[in-house]
């Protein structure tokens, strides 16, 4: 499966030619009553790219997608599509189509009528509809299903109908709202590859909402990671995996071990740090002494030995060796109680259960995540301090 992933991931084509923006989101805010679900969001989406919006449920990603489609209205800010402000455009006036999470196939129409629906609304001549539906059916490999009803199809087939129904209208942008969420694992993997090659063949922009980080990494040219209404990082999958910008992303994308550490000194590109469980090394990118940083190290990058390695003093007990097919996952409990996960290929030796081990890594495999000052401000804003401060203010006003 890993190999398949590699084979379809090519360097993003948009890097070579000068990309044209197709959707621009400028300072968009969305409130549901007093709930601030999308916070001053700015993003430019380019022609022909496959952009994933990745985030946990409730982060505002679906709301963002629905605002682009026109089902929701932003509280403030502007969305432009092909350079045109779409503020007053109804969903049916936008040259954008959506593939819904629940597929939303019309249950009272057969597959042919479902796919032809958009063209009929545009009053396309009958014979042209016929040839285009036939072509779309071939494209999603559903020839011969024209007369069936949605309830007679499997999940994967429904998914293909939903895609055919959207792309037949030649939209400039296709929005996909967790379209593979309801499929089983195997089918999902297969559909990921199909979707990616479809996008390349059609050359249209895909905006793909998902909470599945692996899905986003597999398919996207770029990924926007959303968290609590903000875009925390926007970049290629490689950038996001290798250099997560925040602790949240490091934790959310892939599996990782995070060490909360204090910087001691910096020598020759190496950072000397210490944490509760002992000393460790990281790749230095310039920091202030005594600053708190997070060191993120992927499980496949951690190694262990029975003696402490120069610069490291993180010791612990091997608690579990879990066989996972291609790898063995070792859990080591450090002295401060933190569980460190290590992945070892099955053909390599693993430490014995119950033995004392010291962990270390190559410093180039570590990622230092600073907690920038604005992050701290954000945390304060999100906390109840603001409400508390407001309360004090009103109290004071009351006293006067």
């Amino acid at each position: 499966m890993e190999k398949e992933t590699e084979s379809i991931k090519e360097p993003p084509s948009i890097a070579e030619e000068k990309p044209n923006p197709i959707v621009e989101i400028i300072g968009v805010d969305k409130f549901y009553d007093s709930n601030h679900v999308v916070k001053n969001l700015n993003m430019t989406i380019y022609e022909k790219e496959f952009l994933s919006i990745l985030g946990p449920s409730g982060c505002g990603k679906t709301t963002l997608l629905r605002m682009i489609a026109g089902f929701e209205h932003q509280t403030s800010g502007t969305i432009t599509i092909e350079g045109e402000n779409v503020e007053n455009k109804e969903p049916f006036e936008r040259n954008i189509n959506t593939v819904f999470q629940s597929y939303a196939l019309f249950p009272h129409m057969n597959i042919y009528d479902n796919i032809a629906y958009g063209l009929r609304m545009k009053k396309v001549p009958k014979n042209e509809i016929k040839s285009r539906v036939d072509k779309a059916l071939v494209m999603v490999r559903l020839e011969g299903f024209e007369q069936r009803y949605p309830s007679q199809l499997s999940g994967g087939q429904k998914q293909r109908v939903a895609i055919a129904r959207a792309i037949i209208n030649n939209p400039r942008v296709l929005l996909l709202d967790e379209p593979l969420g309801a499929l089983d694992m195997k089918l999902r993997k297969q559909m990921q590859i199909e979707l990616k090659s479809l996008q390349r063949k059609l050359g249209i922009t895909f905006i793909y909402v998902t909470h599945d980080q692996e899905e986003a990494l597999t398919m996207s040219d770029r990924i926007a990671v959303m968290n609590a209404g903000n875009v925390d990082q926007l970049g290629t999958p490689e950038e996001i995996y290798a250099r997560p910008a925040t602790k949240f992303i490091a934790d959310f994308i892939g599996e990782t071990n995070l060490f909360e550490a204090v910087a001691e000194e910096e020598r020759g590109g190496t950072a000397y740090l210490y944490c509760e469980a002992g000393d460790l090394l990281g790749k230095s990118e310039g920091f202030d002494p005594n600053e708190i940083v997070y060191v993120s190290v992927r499980p496949e990058k951690i190694r262990c030995s029975s003696q402490a390695v120069e610069g490291f003093s993180l010791g612990g007990v091997v608690r579990e060796n879990i066989y996972l097919g291609n790898i063995i996952k070792t859990i080591i409990m450090l002295t401060n109680g933190q569980a460190v996960r290590i992945n070892t290929p099955v053909d390599l030796p693993v430490p014995a259960l119950g033995s004392i081990q010291y962990i270390y890594w190559d410093i180039k495999d570590s990622v230092m995540i600073y907690t920038p000052s604005n992050d701290i401000i954000k945390q304060i804003e999100n906390a109840d301090f603001a409400a508390f401060a407001g309360e004090i203010k009103t109290k004071e006003a009351g006293n006067v």
Partner: protein, 268 residues
């Protein structure tokens, strides 16, 4: 552990019990059909076989008139209830609004309170508003108790309805009217139809509310029956009832068959 013996005992009990229930339900109907062929005009003992009451029934203009009136009232009140009820159900499903709770509560009143209370309160209101008691007041009264049932059946249908289906249609270029006529209404049609059937049957069979809200000019079939109880119901009423039953039976069989076929077609 259940043995074969207890299972077969249960089965024979089940069969016996349901047979008794159906005898209880159908014995009076058998009497109605049987006595519509009775030579005696008194419905006490079956004396002999005749078709003559079916001929007399056609001659009995006040009886036929009451039946036609029943059909008119039922059709009109059902039409009103279907339009208002469907709009209400769709609005309550789609939107959140301030008076929703109040409307919901008011809708339950005709369902829960005894029919007689609704009947007399409508009678009193028609009196104070100077609405003459007749066909119009009857239609209004029947629509009043039918609206909630249409709302509930349509709402039950909508509760399994995925709102993104409407959004998908809009996304594909359908405007609001096209979404309503091409997507929403066809999908909730089964709910509307069963609501309409319910409203229609409630109206046809209604006695209590009609008793209070109509005048001598607009007698319905149930009122006609009650009227003739004192002098003894003549077999021509039985004849008409038998014919109505036959029609109902045919309609039910056809509708069930088509529902069965539909279910097969959509693979359920």
């Amino acid at each position: 552990m259940q043995t074969k013996k207890t299972v077969s005992l249960q089965n024979s009990f089940s069969r016996l019990f349901s047979t008794f229930v159906y005898i209880f339900l159908y014995a009076p109907i058998a009497i109605v059909i049987l006595f519509s062929f009775n030579t005696s005009r008194r419905n006490i003992i079956f004396e002999g076989f005749t078709f003559s009451w079916y001929g007399e029934m056609i001659q009995n203009s006040s009886l036929l008139q009451s039946f036609v009136n029943t059909l008119i009232v039922a059709s009109a009140s059902t039409a009103i209830a279907v339009v208002i009820g469907t709009l209400t159900a769709v609005a309550m499903f789609r939107y959140r609004f301030k008076v929703k709770g109040a409307i919901d509560a008011l809708l339950y009143i005709p369902v829960v309170i005894p029919e007689i209370v609704l009947g007399i309160s409508l009678l009193a209101s028609f009196a104070i508003a100077n609405v003459p008691l007749g066909r119009i007041s009857l239609i209004i009264a029947h629509a009043t108790f039918s609206i909630p049932f249409v709302v509930f059946t349509v709402r039950a249908r909508l509760s399994g309805y995925d709102r993104s289906i409407e959004e998908a249609a809009m996304d594909l270029g359908a405007n609001r009217i096209q979404v309503l006529t091409g997507i929403t209404i066809p999908i909730i049609a089964p709910g509307i139809i069963s609501g309409a059937i319910l409203a229609f049957t409630l109206s046809i069979d209604d006695f209590i509310i009609s008793f209070f809200t109509t005048g001598a000019s607009s007698i319905t079939f149930p009122l006609k029956i009650m009227e003739s109880v004192r002098s003894g119901i003549r077999p021509d009423v039985y004849a008409l009832s038998s014919i109505i039953m036959l029609i109902t039976l045919i309609v039910v069989i056809i509708s069930q068959l088509s529902a069965y076929k539909n279910a097969k077609k959509s693979g359920k």
